[in-house]
Amino acid sequence: MKSEMDNFKFRNKKTAERIVKKINEADVEMSFMHVCGTHQDTLVRFGLEQMLNEAGITIRQGPGCPVCVTTPREIEEVLVLAREGITITAYGDMINVPGEKSSLSKARREGAKVKVVYSVDDAVKIAKKIAEPVVFMSVGFETTTPSIASMIKKGAPQNFFILPCHRLVPPALKAIMEMGEIKLDGLIEPGHVSTIIGMEPYIPLSKKYGIPQVIAGFEPLDLLMGIYMLIRQVKEGRADVENEYTRVVRREGNPKALQVMYEVFEPVDIQWRGFPTIPGSGLKIREKYIDHDAREEFKDILEPLKEKDFGERKGCLCGEVLRALKEPEDCPLFGKRCTPKNPMGPCMVSREGGCNIRYRFSPHPVGESA
């Protein structure tokens, strides 16, 4: 039966073949980067990666997974709170991310109160049922943050706190351009981050670094078309911000969402896993809503962490994978000591992580399953 939703499914095989043919005819060697785990999933799941490689197009994946870019320090923070007996709520992907020695799921097995939630509303529901404090580990890019902000603005219960670990995408793109570690011919911008922020924030990048950008959706046709649009820009010598995902992304984004996000949060400098501190790429709670800030409420408990340094797990190349310098297969632990069942780094934990996606969709040795 044809569902009404089919209008939004961009999967027509004929159209895909036509676009791929056009890409082939363009006869180019180019390298593009995306910053979104969902893009990576589509590329690998539908076999587009290989098709594109054969046509001379290399797709690099950047720091596109909010769980993966969360730093060891932030994970230690939440672990310290969990060990104090505070109820922790987090998205499912978050609880298996290894910190220095432990993870939330390990802490839970040792008796900590850790609950997986699907949305911030679920976390608040838990807080409403108990008198003790509830902390929500608040990760996410611009796609997710407005929902958190909206909840806090509306008036969350007094025992509800968030540990903000949010990241903003455009400052990270700028950092990648500045670092100049990889040569890129264009950027595939994340469709759902762009749903919130719109097209404007990308324009300075094209102006300053002469880099073509296309905002793309997540169906196979979206990505193929997005890539074709990038090739066209390069060939025509343009460096514009174009929007392929017009059925969802408006030029101005979602002003209502942006408004509430910046009413509750303000930008701060923050480190990303694998990156140095990126100016203005994080968010902290504004003074007015500080009563819901876990870092403020549990200052004393978190204080001892300030002096400490937290390194990456030995041997894990997540940092390089996130900077698009290395592929998961380059990591000697990939598929051997590091699998989704026994992840050594966040890129293997999250279903949006580069290592996890590559592992799930590639044939692996008997006895190892995703």
Binding site: S3, N7, C36, S350, E352
Partner: protein
């Protein structure tokens, strides 16, 4: 984590709405968009983050044809 799924608004109750995701229905918060019954939204982590434009969806495929035609000259 930025996965978002399209669905149709069935019933609105204040900030909450019942959304039909092609047969499966689930509640979502619609306070970030102004959506009414019969409209399509895209939902991420329990929140509708934008309305979907059905007309655009249909027209974008035509627009692509045009882009590819123009591209023949490149």
């Amino acid at each position: 984590m930025c996965l978002a799924v399209p669905g149709k608004v069935m019933e609105v109750d204040g900030d909450e709405a019942l959304i039909d995701f092609g047969g499966v229905t689930r509640k979502a918060n619609i306070s970030l968009v102004e959506a009414s019954e019969g409209e399509y939204v895209i939902v991420h982590a329990g929140y509708a983050i934008q309305k979907l434009d059905e007309k655009e969806a249909k027209e974008s495929l035509d627009a692509w044809e045009e882009i590819m035609e123009l591209g023949s000259q490149m």
